[in-house]
Symmetry: C2
Subunit: 347 residues, 2 copies
């Protein structure tokens, strides 16, 4: 019996396991999770089932797997978590496919949401367009917000750190929560709040759209000093800033966006921006600074990642422990919902 | 190691657990299952998850449950199976919600079928119209054919006894089987064949549409002699057959349809039809014959049902044994599919 008041919030977040994470994930989510983990009950989901919803045709192709494509990069992402500073003693890392209650609740929740409601989801709409699915959208892709609701509620999460574009997902989850609570006339599931990151989504180094593995110019969390240097030296700045003495633009200048995201000395960056806008600061000066900053961020992550990569048994132990803990809480939530809905259960 | 050639077919079939079964189920499916069970590996699924796909709003309402509505009538249907002669020593009776692999495979299969493909399913189309769902169709209802494919393949069924209207479901299941087998370049899943029953769907006693619990005039498998008599005496015959001496119509005459389905003395029924058509046979004569036949069919079922109903522990033991066997085979199929698709698994 514990007398510690349970005012701690439960966090659920995670990643589709479609490949190793990159510095954009670090800026937007990973480092926040590291900061949040000691004051919250944090669960990280390696979402390898959700990863299939738009990658099913890649399954079973070992070539694709080796080339770093496809939805089966569970270990890669787990290594990224540990390397970035996720502490498995306080954060529970779970592999989605190891928790059957998530699939069972997903299927149940599909009965509490209409096809029209799923089709109205703006994020899914946008992603359907982006992936060129149109009418051939896989049913699993249309339905994944219901599966996400299962993830969130199965862990009884009250906080979901995610980009602002994920707000409609969390709203749908809360709709399902309210419908079930109303139907059983008891608040058996908590609603969740979104927690948007302080740093928005980083642009691709070439300035075109968001960072994406498929563009090939991302900085991975195991990038070498030379790779970091190469990517930064090719970064988009201000195409009209020809000579050092020319005034330069800061808005849309990817190097400054990255400096804002990663450079701890914010005042120096502010000063640099003013001088760049006036004229007299060359792009190479900016880029050298960013290279130094990024190399400083990446080096310890890369080293830890290498070390963890040499201890596969240790990583598997962490995932096994996470699966045990995750099964306990998600099975418990599932049983609670089933009991209240009157669904048959063998004792 | 067994040297018995495995030429036996595996059967999967079952019922949504939306209420006790009636004499229409007996004629169309139950008695065939009893006949098939000794020569096949037969699994019967108490489909309490599928039952939710068009009944979610009934969940958690104990009133509805007591009134015989809602999707939670697992025990009722199990009693019907046992009473009708299903032998748990040779037929495995499984409760759907006790087999998590079915939900996991359902969710996986949703990635292998497009929304457009599900919407084209003629049976689902028809049922959506029938239930008045239109655009508010629950996602679970649109998706249930993929869940049925999971049921069929998880048991590696090769024969699915079902009405002809279920043919599109089995075709979809086979499509998913072919797609997965092609993708992993190995026939890891068998295709299934439909086995349509010799007797078609029985009409409602009033001759309007198919038998349906909600019409209130079905003959349940625990109907008393008086209840049987009452329903048959009110049955639709030939409205133009006023006097005994009038010639009567056989087509559309519900009493003859039921006699065809249940009366073992087919030659006598043929003779009766000829005499009825000529004139000289009264409706009461027909109905008295049918009452006798149906009372003879129902009496032993009703008695066994009563006896099993007094032994709930025995029934629960049968379901527990079924769940154990069902989990073994469905988990095994799921693991086989996951391994071939390269999905992560601990150990």
């Amino acid at each position: 019996m514990s007398f510690i008041p349970s005012s701690r919030q439960t966090i659920l977040t995670g990643d589709r396991t479609t490949g190793p994470l990159h510095i954009g994930h670090y800026a937007g989510s990973l480092r926040n999770r590291v900061a949040l983990q000691y004051d919250h009950d944090q669960f990280l989901l390696l979402a390898n089932c959700q990863a299939i919803t738009d990658n099913a045709s890649e399954l079973g192709k070992s070539e694709g797997f080796r080339a770093g494509k496809g939805p089966n990069h569970v270990i890669e992402v787990a290594l990224d978590y540990l390397a970035a500073g996720i502490d498995p003693a306080v954060t529970t890392i779970c592999v989605q496919s190891e928790l059957p209650a998530l699939a069972e609740l997903s299927l149940l929740y599909l009965n509490f949401v209409s096809v029209a409601r799923l089709e109205r989801n703006p994020t899914v709409k946008e992603e359907i367009k982006l992936r060129g699915f149109m009418r051939d959208v896989p049913a699993g892709f249309l339905c994944y917000p219901a599966a996400q609701a299962a993830d969130i509620t199965a862990f009884r999460a009250t906080l979901v750190p995610a980009g602002a574009d994920q707000a409609p997902m969390i709203e749908l989850s809360n709709e399902i929560v309210r419908r079930i609570n109303r139907q059983v006339q008891k608040d058996i599931l908590p609603e969740a709040k979104i927690l948007t990151p302080p740093v928005g989504r980083l642009p691709a180094p070439n300035g075109k759209g968001k960072m994406s593995k498929s563009l090939g110019t991302v900085i991975s969390l195991s990038a070498s000093d030379d790779q970091i240097s190469d990517v930064v030296m090719s970064m988009y700045t201000d195409p009209d800033h020809i000579r050092t003495s020319d005034p330069g633009r800061v808005e849309g200048n990817v190097v400054f966006t990255y400096l804002d995201a990663f450079d701890d000395r914010a005042e120096e960056v502010q000063d640099l921006k003013m001088r760049y806008q006036r004229g007299g600061v060359g792009d190479v000066t900016l880029k050298r600074r960013l290279i130094g900053v990024l190399q400083g961020v990446i080096a310890p992550i890369r080293e830890r990642r290498f070390e963890f990569g040499r201890r596969p048994d240790y990583v598997m132990d962490i995932l096994a422990t996470g699966a045990r803990k995750g099964r306990a809480i998600t099975d418990d939530t599932k049983r609670c919902i089933e009991d209240h809905l009157g669904i048959f259960r063998l004792r």
